[in-house]
C-alpha cells in the first residue's frame, strides 16, 4: 500500500516515524489506532474508515499516500529484481501496521529493501535473506509466520476446524439418512412447552400452503397438503 510521501519525500515527520528500537512503543499515548507513523498513514486511514472515523488520527498525523519503491532502488538484473520484489512482499515494515516493506515508504522499509537487494546481489538464497533478517528482527519481520511450536495452532486452524465440523456433520448425516420411521419421535418428541398450539399449527399451515403455491413446479415441497 501506500507508498511514499509525495510532497514530503523522505517521509521524515518529526515525532511520527520512530526508529525500530522503540517499535514496540510507537503509539503515542491516547492515539487510539496504531500505525501513526509516516509509513502507513494511507492504510491506517483506510482502516479507520472501514469502521469509524479518522479524525483523531488525521489530526495527530499528517499522513500521505505514497509510492514505496523508487526507480533508483531497483536492480538492473531483472531476475534478481523480481526475486527482491517477491521477498519484499513477504517482509513486514516493522514500524508499520500490516504493511510489507515493498509497500511502505517509511525510511526503515527503504533500508530493509536495500539490505534485501544487497544480500541477493551477494548471492544469498531467499531463505538465507529471510534468516538474516529474522536473526536481527525476529519472526515479527515475516508476514507469513514460520511453522513452529508457537504458531502450530495458527497453521492448523483450518484443518482442525474442518475436521471438527466433519466429525460432527458426517455422523449427523448418517443418522438423518436413515428412513423416517426410525428417527421420527426419537429426537423429535418435545414436551408440551415446545409443541405448537392448535392456533399456531393453523398459522403454520397457512404459511406452508402459500409457499407451496408459490414454489415452481420442479420442486416438490414437503409440508401439509394444500387444502383445495
Amino acid at each position: 500500500m501506500s507508498g511514499n510521501e509525495f510532497l514530503q519525500s523522505g517521509g521524515h515527520l518529526p515525532g511520527k516515524v520512530r526508529s525500530n528500537d522503540d517499535a514496540h512503543f510507537i503509539t503515542p499515548a491516547r492515539l487510539p489506532l496504531i500505525g501513526a507513523f509516516g509509513c502507513g498513514a494511507g492504510r491506517v486511514l483506510h482502516m479507520v474508515l472501514l469502521v469509524l472515523g479518522a479524525l483523531i488520527v488525521a489530526a495527530l498525523l499528517h499522513s500521505s499516500p505514497a509510492s514505496a519503491l523508487s526507480p533508483d532502488e531497483q536492480l538492473k538484473n531483472q531476475t534478481l529484481e523480481h526475486r527482491a520484489r517477491e521477498l519484499s512482499a513477504e517482509l513486514r515494515c516493522l514500524v508499520c501496521q500490516n504493511q510489507s516493506i515493498d509497500d511502505s515508504d517509511a525510511p526503515l522499509a527503504k533500508d530493509l529493501r536495500r539490505i534485501v537487494r544487497e544480500r541477493i546481489v551477494a548471492g544469498d538464497t531467499n531463505t538465507q535473506v529471510k534468516t538474516f533478517l529474522v536473526e536481527r528482527y525476529g519472526d515479527f519481520v515475516l508476514l507469513k509466520p514460520p511453522f513452529n511450536l508457537h504458531t502450530l495452532l495458527l497453521w492448523l486452524t483450518p484443518a482442525l476446524v474442518l475436521g471438527a465440523t466433519l466429525l460432527y456433520v458426517v455422523p449427523a448425516m448418517r443418522r438423518s439418512a436413515r428412513p423416517l420411521s426410525e428417527t421420527a419421535g426419537g429426537e423429535g418428541a418435545g414436551s408440551d412447552a415446545t409443541r405448537l398450539s392448535a392456533q399456531e399449527e393453523a398459522r403454520l399451515a397457512e404459511l406452508m400452503m402459500e409457499r407451496d403455491a408459490a414454489l415452481p413446479a420442479t420442486i416438490t415441497a414437503p409440508g401439509p397438503p394444500a387444502k383445495q
Partner: protein
C-alpha cells in the same frame, strides 16, 4: 440549544431503551399483553429520540457550530456540504451515534411491521434489541459523548482528512453499519427463540429477509471501501487482509452462511440448532469488529493499556452479549426440535457444505487476525500474520466452495441426483474448461492457479445462468412457453442466480488482477515515454495549480496504443490546506480489459518525476460482481414470499379473489 436538545434526547433514548429491555420481557414471561405491547411503543420512541439526537448533531455540522468539541475536531467551515454531513459519522463519537440509530431503526421496524409475529416472540425480540441499544447508548454517554461543548469556541475546525473527502467514502460507513447492526436482528430472534425454546418455519421466514438486507448492505459497504482504497490510496491495491478489513469480512462470511442455512430452516425445518448458533456468531463477530477497531487493541496491547476506558467498556458489552447468548444456547439448544431429514446429496446437503466451508474460512480469518494479539499476551513473542498467510490458507478453502456452487440450486430437496445434475451442468463445465485452457495457452506467466480460478469463475457464472435456462426449459419448449415459465419463476430464483453470477464475476476479477497485473516503476523526464501492457505513456507536461482548498502538481501523460491516441491521463499530487496533508490522485483509464493506472511520485534529481504505472486486468469485475450480488439480494428481497407481512396480505388477496 439544539445541541442540548439532542443531548437530552439521547439520554432519554437510553432510558427508553432500558424500559424496552425490561418491560416486554417481563410481559412475555408473565404472558401479559399490556407489558408486551409496551415494547413496540418503546422501540418506536427510542428510534425517534435517537433520530432527534442524530439530527441535532448533523445540524451542528451543517452550520459549523464550533462550540461543539466533536465538530471542531472533525469539520471545517470551508468543506463542501456533503462532507460536512458525512463528517458526522467520520469520527468515533458520531459513528457510534449512527450505530445506535441503526439498532433503533431495526427495532422500530419490528415494532411496526411485526404485527403478524407471535406476541411473545415479538416481545422478546424487542427486548433483546433494546438491550443492545441500551449497552451502546451507555457507552456513548459515558465514554464517547459527541455533544460535549467547548468554551471558548475556536474560530474554525480542524477539518476532515482530505482523503476521506470522497463520495464513495461518504456512504461507506452507513452501509457497513447497516450490515453490522442488521445482523443484530438475527441475533435478537435467535435469543428470543432460545428463551421460548422453539422455532418454526415462520421464525426462519422472519429472520431471512432481515439477514438478507443486512448482508446486502455489508456487501456494498465492503465493496465501496475496497473501491475507494483502490483509486484513492494510490497504489492500486484493493484488499490487504488488514485486521480492520478482516473485522468487516468475518461477519460477511458468517452472514453468508447464515443466509443459506436459514433457507434450509425455512424450507425444510432442518439445521435449526446450527442456524441459531450461526445467528449468534454472526452478530458476535460484528461486536468483535467494533471492539477490535474501537479499543486500539490492534495497534498494540500497549495502546489498549494506555487508554483502556473505551476498550474495556466494549469488551464488557461483548462478553455480556456473546457470553450470555452462548450460555443460553448451551442451556436451551437441546429443546429445539430437529426437523426434516435429508440425504447428503441433496439441496440441504449442498447448503451444509456451503456452511462448513464458509465457517472454516471465517475461523481461519478470525484466528489469523487474533493470533498475534493472543501470542504476544501469553508469551511476549511478536509475530506477523499478513496477506501471504491468508492467501495460502483462506483461498484454498474457497475453491471447493466455488466448484460446488452451481450444483446447489440444481439439486432437489431431500434427495438429489448428483449424476443428473452433473449432466445438466456439462455445458457450464465445458465453458469453464474452455476458458481455463484458453487462458493457460495464451498467457505464459503468472501462477498455475490463475487459469484454474478464472475457469472456475466462468463455470460459476454459466452455471448460475444455466439454472434459469433449465427451469424455463430453453431449447425444450416453444418460445412462448419458455417466456411463460421464465416469468413465473419466483424472484428469489433470479436473486440467487444474480448473486451467484456476481460471485463468479468477482472471482474472475480477483484472479486476473492478482495474477496478471503489470507494474512499471520508472523515472521520466519531460518528453520521455514508457511502454506497458501495449500502451505507450508519454510525459508531456507538468503544471502547478490551486484547487479550492489545496495546491496541486499535475502531470499530463499522453496515452497511445498502436500509434493511436487513446486518452490523456492526469495523475497529480495535492497538498491540502487544512489539515495540511498531501494526497495523490491516480490517473486511471478504465476499460473492460482492465485499468491503466498511473501515479506520479517524487520529483527526481536532475528533473522529471518517478512514475508507477499499473495495468490491472479485469479489476472492475471485482466491484461489479459485488454490485450484482447486491442487486441479486434486492430482487430476492422483493419476492413476495419473503416480504414482511406477506402471509397476511396474501390471505386477503385470496379471500378477495374468491
Amino acid at each position: 440549544m439544539i445541541i442540548e436538545f439532542g443531548h437530552f434526547a439521547l439520554v432519554l433514548a437510553v432510558l427508553v431503551a432500558f424500559l424496552q429491555t425490561a418491560v416486554p420481557a417481563y410481559g412475555a414471561y408473565r404472558t401479559d399483553s399490556r407489558f408486551m405491547d409496551f415494547g413496540a411503543s418503546a422501540a418506536v420512541s427510542q428510534f425517534f429520540l435517537i433520530a432527534i439526537a442524530f439530527v441535532a448533531l448533523t445540524h451542528a455540522y451543517i452550520v459549523s457550530d464550533f462550540s461543539v468539541a466533536n465538530v471542531v475536531a472533525n469539520s471545517h467551515s470551508t468543506k463542501p456540504l456533503i462532507y460536512r454531513i458525512s463528517g458526522v459519522w467520520g469520527n468515533h463519537e458520531g459513528s457510534m451515534l449512527l450505530w445506535i440509530l441503526i439498532v433503533a431503526l431495526f427495532g422500530a421496524a419490528v415494532a411496526l411491521f411485526g404485527s403478524n409475529l407471535p406476541a411473545t416472540l415479538k416481545a422478546y425480540v424487542l427486548s433483546v434489541q433494546g438491550a443492545i441499544g441500551l449497552a451502546f447508548g451507555l457507552f456513548i454517554i459515558f465514554t464517547s459523548n459527541p455533544f460535549e461543548r467547548l468554551d471558548p469556541a475556536p474560530f474554525d475546525g480542524r477539518g476532515l482528512n482530505p482523503i476521506l473527502q470522497d463520495p464513495a467514502l461518504a456512504f461507506h460507513p452507513p452501509f457497513l453499519y447497516a450490515g453490522y447492526v442488521g445482523f443484530s436482528m438475527a441475533f435478537s430472534f435467535a435469543i428470543a427463540a432460545l428463551i421460548e425454546g422453539r422455532t418454526d418455519a415462520a421464525w426462519a421466514r422472519w429472520v431471512r429477509p432481515w439477514t438478507l438486507a443486512a448482508w446486502m448492505c455489508l456487501t456494498l459497504g465492503i465493496a465501496m471501501g475496497s473501491w475507494w482504497a483502490y483509486y484513492e490510496l494510490g497504489w492500486g491495491g484493493w484488499w490487504f487482509w488488514d485486521p480492520v478489513e478482516n473485522a468487516s469480512f468475518m461477519p460477511w462470511l458468517a452472514g453468508t452462511a447464515l443466509l443459506h442455512s436459514a433457507l434450509v430452516m425455512e424450507k425444510r425445518e432442518a439445521l435449526k440448532v446450527w442456524t441459531i448458533l450461526l445467528a449468534i456468531l454472526t452478530f458476535s463477530l460484528s461486536l468483535m469488529g467494533a471492539f477490535l477497531v474501537r479499543s486500539g487493541v490492534l495497534t498494540s496491547v500497549h495502546a489498549f493499556a494506555v487508554d483502556p476506558e473505551r476498550g474495556t467498556f466494549i469488551l464488557g458489552i461483548m462478553f455480556l452479549f456473546i457470553g450470555g447468548a452462548l450460555v443460553l444456547f448451551a442451556l436451551r439448544a437441546g429443546e429445539l426440535r430437529q426437523g426434516g431429514i435429508f440425504s447428503p446429496i441433496s439441496r440441504e446437503g449442498s447448503l451444509v457444505l456451503n456452511n462448513i466451508l464458509l465457517t472454516v474460512g471465517c475461523a481461519t480469518v478470525l484466528v489469523g487476525t487474533l493470533y498475534p494479539l493472543g501470542l504476544e499476551a501469553m508469551t511476549g513473542d511478536k509475530i506477523s500474520v499478513g496477506a501471504p498467510f491468508f492467501n495460502m490458507t483462506y483461498v484454498p478453502l474457497m475453491l471447493p466452495l466455488l466448484f460446488a456452487m452451481p450444483f446447489g440450486p440444481f439439486l432437489a430437496w431431500k434427495r438429489g441426483d448428483l449424476l443428473g445434475v452433473a449432466q445438466r451442468l456439462s455445458v457450464a463445465a465445458l465453458v469453464g474448461i474452455v476458458v481455463m485452457v484458453g487462458i493457460a495457452a495464451n498467457v505464459q506467466r503468472g501462477p498455475w492457479l490463475a487459469p484454474f480460478a478464472i475457469g472456475l469463475g466462468a463455470f460459476v457464472m454459466t452455471g448460475a445462468v444455466w439454472e434459469i435456462a433449465y427451469r424455463a426449459k430453453v431449447g425444450n419448449a416453444s418460445l412462448p412457453e419458455v417466456w411463460r415459465r421464465a416469468r413465473n419463476l419466483p424472484r428469489s430464483v433470479y436473486g440467487t442466480t444474480l448473486a451467484h453470477f456476481g460471485v463468479g464475476l468477482a472471482v474472475i476479477g480477483i484472479a486476473a488482477t492478482s495474477a496478471y497485473r503489470v507494474e512499471t516503476i520508472v523515472a521520466l523526464k519531460q518528453g520521455e515515454s514508457v511502454e506497458t501492457a501495449g500502451y505507450t505513456l508519454t510525459f508531456k507536461d507538468s503544471t502547478q495549480g490551486r484547487g479550492p482548498n489545496y495546491k496541486e502538481d499535475t502531470v499530463i501523460l499522453d496515452v497511445t496504443r498502436g500509434g493511436e491516441h487513446v486518452t490523456t491521463l492526469t495523475p497529480s499530487k495535492r497538498l491540502y490546506d487544512a489539515p495540511p496533508q498531501p494526497t495523490t490522485e491516480a490517473g486511471i483509464l478504465a476499460s473492460w480489459r482492465g485499468d491503466l493506472y498511473s501515479v506520479v511520485g517524487d520529483a527526481q534529481d536532475g528533473g522529471g518525476y518517478a512514475f508507477r504505472v499499473y495495468f490491472n486486468p479485469l479489476v472492475r469485475f471485482i466491484w461489479l460482481g459485488a454490485l450484482i450480488m447486491f442487486i441479486g439480494g434486492g430482487i430476492s428481497l422483493s419476492d413476495r414470499r419473503l416480504r414482511v407481512g406477506a402471509p397476511v396480505r396474501g390471505r386477503r388477496k385470496q379471500v378477495a379473489a374468491a
